[in-house]
Symmetry: C2
Subunit: 211 residues, 2 copies
C-alpha cells in the first residue's frame, strides 16, 4: 500500500505524530478532524484525505481516537522499532543530538560517537563514549547499527559514508554539506542541509516584498 502514497503525505506524517503526541500528553482521548485541522493549519478535508491513505482511522460522529491514531501512525513511521545509531563527528552538532532526549524517546538510541581527533577518544558526551574512527569496522561488526549520522566536515563525508555503507549500514542521516553519492542504491539517506534551509529562508525574505 505504502508504494502509492505521495511523498507530500508522508512528509506530513511526522507532524501528525508530533501533534497527536502533544494531545496524548495533555490526556486528550479523541479529536475531530475539524479540531485537528485548526491545530495543524490544514483543511479538515485534507486531513481526512491524508488519513484515508492509511485505511482511515476516523469514525463518523466520534472523530479520531488519539491514542489509536498515534500508535498507527507510529507504526507506519517505523517507530514501533528501536533504531540503533552511531554518530560520526563528535562536535557541537553531535552533542546537540545526543543531549536531546526526545530522539531516544522516539526509539533512536545512540550507541557511540566517532571522531578523528585523538584528544576526544575515550571522552563521553551525555554518557555516550567517543571512539576513534579507526574502530568503526570492529564496532559495526559487533553491534547492530541501523543508522549512521554524519556530522563531520564535507571533505570527509563521502569517504566515511561509503566506508560505513560497505560495512553494512543501511541508513544515513546526513548533516554534512554535500549530497552523498553512494554505490549501494539500497541505502536510505536523509539529508539535513542547514545551508540550503538558510538559503530557502533568504529566498522567502527576498521574494516577500514582490508578492
Amino acid at each position: 500500500m505504502e508504494g502509492q502514497i505521495s511523498q507530500a503525505v508522508i512528509r506530513r506524517l511526522p507532524r501528525y505524530y508530533r501533534y497527536l503526541g502533544d494531545l496524548l500528553s495533555n490526556n486528550v482521548e479523541r479529536i475531530s478532524s475539524n479540531e485537528l485541522s485548526d491545530k495543524m493549519n490544514l483543511t479538515a478535508s485534507q486531513i481526512r484525505q491524508d488519513l484515508n491513505n492509511f485505511g482511515g482511522f476516523g469514525q463518523q460522529g466520534y472523530g479520531y481516537n488519539v491514542k489509536y491514531l498515534y500508535d498507527e501512525i507510529g507504526k507506519i513511521l517505523g517507530l514501533d522499532k528501536v533504531h540503533n545509531m552511531i554518530i560520526i563527528g563528535a562536535g557541537n552538532l553531535a552533542s546537540a543530538i545526543v543531549k536531546y532526549h526526545k530522539f531516544e524517546e522516539l526509539g533512536f538510541k545512540t550507541l557511540a560517537l566517532f571522531d578523528v581527533r585523538e584528544e576526544l577518544f575515550g571522552t563521553e558526551i551525555n554518557g555516550i563514549k567517543v571512539y576513534s574512527t579507526d574502530d568503526l569496522e570492529i564496532f559495526i561488526k559487533n553491534h547492530n547499527v541501523d543508522i549512521c549520522a554524519l556530522t563531520l566536515p564535507k571533505e570527509n563525508a563521502v569517504a566515511v559514508a561509503n566506508k560505513v555503507v560497505n560495512l553494512g549500514v543501511k541508513s544515513i542521516w546526513n548533516f554534512s554539506h554535500v549530497d552523498l553519492e553512494l554505490n549501494d542504491s539500497d541505502v536510505v539517506v536523509e539529508n539535513v542541509h542547514l545551508s540550503d534551509s538558510l538559503m530557502q529562508l533568504s529566498y522567502n525574505i527576498a521574494s516577500r516584498g514582490k508578492i
Copy 2:
C-alpha cells in the same frame, strides 16, 4: 515572475548554488546541462526547465557560464545581501551554527546570542557574545536584525518567537520542535525539525523492505 515558480524548483535552487560554488572553487568556467545533470542526479531536460524559469542562462553549444549562473541564482536567493542574525538559545546547536564559517560566507552574520542561563551572560562563542534574553528588546532596537534563529526548548519557543516578532524581526529560523503560530502573517518562518527528519528516515527504512 517569482510568484509563478513552483516550490519544488525553489527547493532545488540552493543545491544548484552549492554545486556551482564547488565548480567555481575548482576553476570550472562553463558546464553543459548534461554535465550538470550527471553531477546533480537530475535529467538535463529538468535542469533546462528549472533554469528557464529564471530566464534561462544557457547558450546553445556553449552551455552555462558557471560564474554568471552562480551569481544570478545567488541574486534570486537573496544572497547578494547581508543578513544579520541573532540566535536565541546558546546551547550546542547554536555553537554548531556559529562555528560553521560557511554561513557567514553566504552573508548570514551572527550578531549576538541570547540565553536565560545567567552563567552564560558575557561569555563568547567563537567571538560572538551571549546576552540575557532580557536584553532582547534593547538589542533589536539598536541593531538591524533580519533573522532570529530559535535553538531553545520548545516550551519557550512560541513566547520568544512572538516577542521578537513584536519587536520587528521579520524572519525566523526555527529549530525548536514546535510549529510556530505567529500573529503576524508577514513573518517568514523556515523550520528545521530534526525529529521529523529522523521519522522520515525511519519511514523510509520501514518501507524499504516492502517496495
